[in-house]
């Protein structure tokens, strides 16, 4: 993106840039609209038209347009100018451009989805300091929750159970009984304070296993009962979409708790590898439980709610009927993102938010101050998971197709790279990170590939295929040169740079001398991913 240097804040107040903001917004909006509108493009002289038609230029124009939102947020300008630019861009220009080219809508929705995912992961990794490498699993849970019910898949499931299922009521009763019994015993075991004995551990494990079996039996019983009565050929009524938004949040959060319960006692690297593993477990299950998920072929077509007044509005604005869905999802994403940002801001300053940060900085000290570790971590896990769950539903509705391929480890890593790129713990930062990575991924790199298509580059170095290289490069370069991210939170920036001015000059650059520095020598190795010493990056760099 464009050069924004939040690290170097000038001592005096920056000049008012309202005018340049508005001018830039007008220019970029005009360019965007012209480059998307074919009739306007045709009216222009052909050489300008050709330039604008170039996929790379079109993609850059779109990027510049989106960058306006960043400028509106960052620049020192009048409030009305900021609101005007932001509001018009989001509610007028972008839908307008999307009418002529649905890929603009697609990109915007995708940015929204990944921004929400990043905000969720930001809570887990950025605030609570729990490195979760299987985060995309919760996204998958949300997507499959709606995917199964919003498509013909549920009909297949019911037919299967009608033919093979037996004794629904009994299954349901056993399942519910098991569920209640194990949940109560889990609670009882958890209440036993003090040192955990092996017996308590075994009991806990057994109860957790029982809980999972209880859930499975209950659902199975319910499905058998339901399939005896009804037949759902093409999914549930689309209006249940709203219900499933909430159900997906609940499902993802409970999977988060289920996964979190056994593993959150582990720290740092162990937690990272276990979450990675459990993320893979969910993907493999999606691949193998083909009765429910249709295996690797994926589920399609997945429906979506329709809002009559929004549809007629879209129709009035000249959208074609096949674009109604995107139009609706775009505004839905905007609303959900707004809610998620609000929740995040409240959490950041709340008691639980401070508890997360305390855990991140030093678990033992936090525990000593009376923070219930497991409970606090579970809340972080569940909150992060719920954001992913709701966006999973949107993702399923937007793609109308989901398969296990969408939920691979690389996706988890790319969400992590968004969080890191933008700035761990910073809300505007991770949104920016999500936007940058998503634009790179679906717009800039592919268009670079198209633009260089006639240069006869070998297929291997086609930019569209270099996503891994580019991501890897971003991750490494960011960590080496700007570990606090593009838009770091104030706290993080201070932590990373507090000794730049003082210690940076005083500490010898020599590595041995750097390690002899008494403050470094006193460092305590905490197995968490929390910082090891307060004065990082001061002396030890060579």
């Amino acid at each position: 993106m464009t050069a924004v240097r939040p690290g170097s804040q000038p001592p005096t107040r920056a000049p008012d840039r309202s005018l340049s903001l508005i001018v830039l917004a007008i220019i970029s909006s005009a360019l965007l609209l012209i480059s998307q509108e074919r009739s306007w493009l045709a009216a222009l002289p052909s050489f300008i038209g050709n330039i604008l038609k170039n996929p790379l230029v079109a993609s850059l124009v779109l990027t510049l347009f989106l960058a306006n939102l960043l400028f509106a947020y960052r620049w020192n300008a009048q409030l009305w100018a900021k609101l005007l630019v932001g509001g018009l861009s989001l509610f007028l220009i972008l839908p307008w451009a999307g009418r002529d080219n649905t890929s603009v809508f697609d990109l915007a929705i995708q940015i929204g989805i990944f921004a929400a995912l990043s905000l969720g992961l930001n809570i887990v990794v950025g605030l609570a300091g729990l490195l979760d490498l299987g985060y995309i699993a919760f996204f998958a849970v949300g997507a499959y929750t709606w995917g199964i019910f919003g498509s013909g898949q549920i009909g297949k499931v019911m037919t299967y159970f009608k033919e093979n299922g037996s004794n629904g009521p009994l299954t349901l009763i056993i399942g519910l009984a098991l569920l209640i019994a194990t949940a109560l015993s889990l609670r009882a075991i958890n209440r036993v304070k003090g040192k955990r004995t092996p017996a308590a551990n075994w009991g806990f494990l057994l109860a957790a296993l029982g809980l999972v079996i209880g859930v499975i039996l209950t659902v199975r019983g319910a499905v058998i009962l339901a399939s005896a009565g009804t037949a759902l050929g093409s999914g549930v009524n689309p209006n249940f979409f709203w219900l499933f938004l909430i159900l997906a949040v609940a499902a993802a959060a409970s999977v988060g708790v289920l996964i979190g319960l056994p593993v959150l006692k582990l720290k740092g690297d162990y937690l990272a590898i276990i979450t990675l593993g459990l993320g893979e477990v969910i993907r493999v299950l999606a691949n193998n439980l083909s009765i429910y998920s249709n295996g690797s072929q994926g589920i399609t077509p997945i429906g979506s709610a329709s809002v009559p007044w929004l549809d007629s509005l879209a129709g009035g604005l000249g959208f074609s009927p096949d674009q109604y869905n995107l139009f609706f999802l775009y505004f839905l994403v905007l609303v959900i993102i707004a809610v998620i940002i609000l929740v995040n801001m409240r959490l950041d300053r709340s008691r639980i938010g401070r508890a997360w940060i305390a855990i991140r900085e030093d678990e033992i000290a936090a525990q000593a101050m009376g923070i219930p570790l497991v409970q606090t971590k579970l809340i972080a896990f569940a909150t992060g998971a719920s954001f992913a769950g709701i966006m999973g539903v949107i993702f399923a509705a937007k793609q109308t197709f989901i398969s296990p391929e969408s939920f691979i480890l690389t996706q988890s890593i790319s969400v992590l790279s968004m969080v890191v790129l933008g700035g761990l713990g910073s809300i505007p930062g991770v949104i920016l990170g999500a936007a940058v990575v998503t634009i790179l991924n679906i717009s800039l790199l592919p268009s670079l590939g198209e633009a260089t298509a006639n240069l006869n580059l070998p297929q291997q170095v086609n930019p569209a295929q270099l996503q891994r290289l580019v991501f890897g490069g971003i991750l490494v370069a960011m960590m080496l040169f700007r570990p606090e991210g593009l838009l770091p939170s104030v706290r993080q920036r201070r932590m990373m740079h507090e000794d730049d001015d003082v210690a940076g000059n005083l500490t010898p650059q020599d590595s041995i001398a750097g390690e002899l520095n008494p403050e470094n020598a006193a460092e305590v190795y905490s197995p968490g991913i929390a910082t090891r010493a307060d004065n990082e990056r001061g002396g030890g760099t060579q």
Binding site: Y270, A365, L475, M479, P527, I529
Partner: protein, 337 residues
């Protein structure tokens, strides 16, 4: 299948699991050694491993037509892979990890993920320029034949193995032999030499080791060299066993091997070997669970096929970590604020 035929079948499954386990063990050693000195999950290790496999492929390809002895070719492949992977690992440490020595622990971890992604694409591009993606090993003649092919030439030990259901190919025998040599060599190096003592000292406490006159950075580089060399060897062994590698095939064995390292207690060398062997056997057993289910009358086990193998590895890991959070052979250390 009944119980009479089941026993030798199971023995065969377990033995081939052990063979696979040796590959995992050697990869896991690369992870665990780096973790021992830096407390860093070297995510790029799986690509260091693939680099070794690619080097091995190139050696076998170039030497393919020469009348050289097959064992000599294997030796050259192993040495070349050790050299290239070891140096690559040192280079990675120098460029990507050393500048971050004192950063929060998440920082080098993310760098490691980044390096891993970069290397995947680089390997793909380099091999892609020669029009290759899947690299199929061109093994010397006789490597894929049964260890005990002709009855007449069969040693008594081979005959005995054959009767209890163990049928190994020559390359698998070599795989085990090479692994055992590497393990023995590493054990000697770490426990009985001055260099090994320095490595252990740095792993224990880098700063104090520096005070005792040990060049900590040098030792860390050396550890990466050894870890990378082990990765190279395991890459060639993997290519030997499975025959085909590509730029992305480091991921699966890398993850399993890391799981093995954690399972055994990360940082512990015998632990990594134990973890590798355990996971190799468990994976193979899960692969035949449906057959076992038929024998035992548990029809429901039939749905568990080989695609659940990786899940099995992780579930075992979860179970073990719940009860022994430091892994099978890991030491627990008390933390203080």
């Amino acid at each position: 299948m009944d119980f009479a035929t089941l026993a030798p079948f199971l023995v065969g499954v377990i033995v081939s699991g052990l063979v696979l386990g040796f590959v995992y063990a050697i990869i896991a050693l690369g992870y665990t050694m780096v973790y021992g000195v830096l407390q860093l999950i070297n995510f790029a290790h799986s690509e260091v491993f693939v680099t070794g496999a690619v080097v091995g492929f190139e050696v076998f390809r170039v030497l393919g037509d020469s009348p050289m002895n097959g064992y000599l070719k294997l030796l050259i492949a192993l040495l070349a892979a050790m050299l290239v992977s070891g140096l690559l690992n040192v280079l990675i440490e120098r460029l990507a990890y050393r500048p971050l020595r004192n950063a929060p622990r998440l920082v080098p971890l993310i760098t490691a993920i980044g390096v891993s992604l970069i290397l995947q694409d680089l390997i793909r591009i380099i091999e892609g320029f020669q029009g290759r993606f899947d690299l199929t090993y061109r093994l010397p003649e006789g490597f894929s034949t049964s260890f005990c092919g002709a009855e007449s030439s069969c040693a008594p030990i081979g005959k005995f193995l054959g009767t209890v259901g163990i049928q190994l190919q020559l390359k698998e025998v070599m795989l085990v032999v090479v692994s055992l040599i590497m393990l023995g060599g590493l054990n000697y190096l770490v426990n009985y030499t001055k260099l090994g003592r320095a490595i252990r000292a740095v792993a224990q406490d880098r700063v104090t080791a520096g005070l005792m006159g040990i060049d900590a950075n040098g030792i860390i580089s050396l550890t990466f060299l050894i870890g990378g060399a082990l990765g190279g060897v395991s890459g060639v062994l993997f290519g030997l066993k499975f025959g085909t590698v590509n730029a992305y095939s480091g991921f699966d064995p890398g993850i399993v091997a890391f799981t093995a390292a954690v399972l055994g207690g990360i940082g512990s060398i015998p632990g990594a070997v134990l973890g590798g062997l355990v996971l190799g056997v468990i994976q193979n057993l899960i692969g035949v669970t449906n057959i076992l289910g038929n024998v035992l009358g548990l029809a429901n086990l039939g749905v568990i096929d080989s695609s659940y193998q990786r899940i099995g590895a992780f579930l075992v890991l979860v179970l073990i970590l719940i009860f022994k959070p430091t892994g099978l052979l890991g030491r627990s250390n008390t933390e203080k604020v």
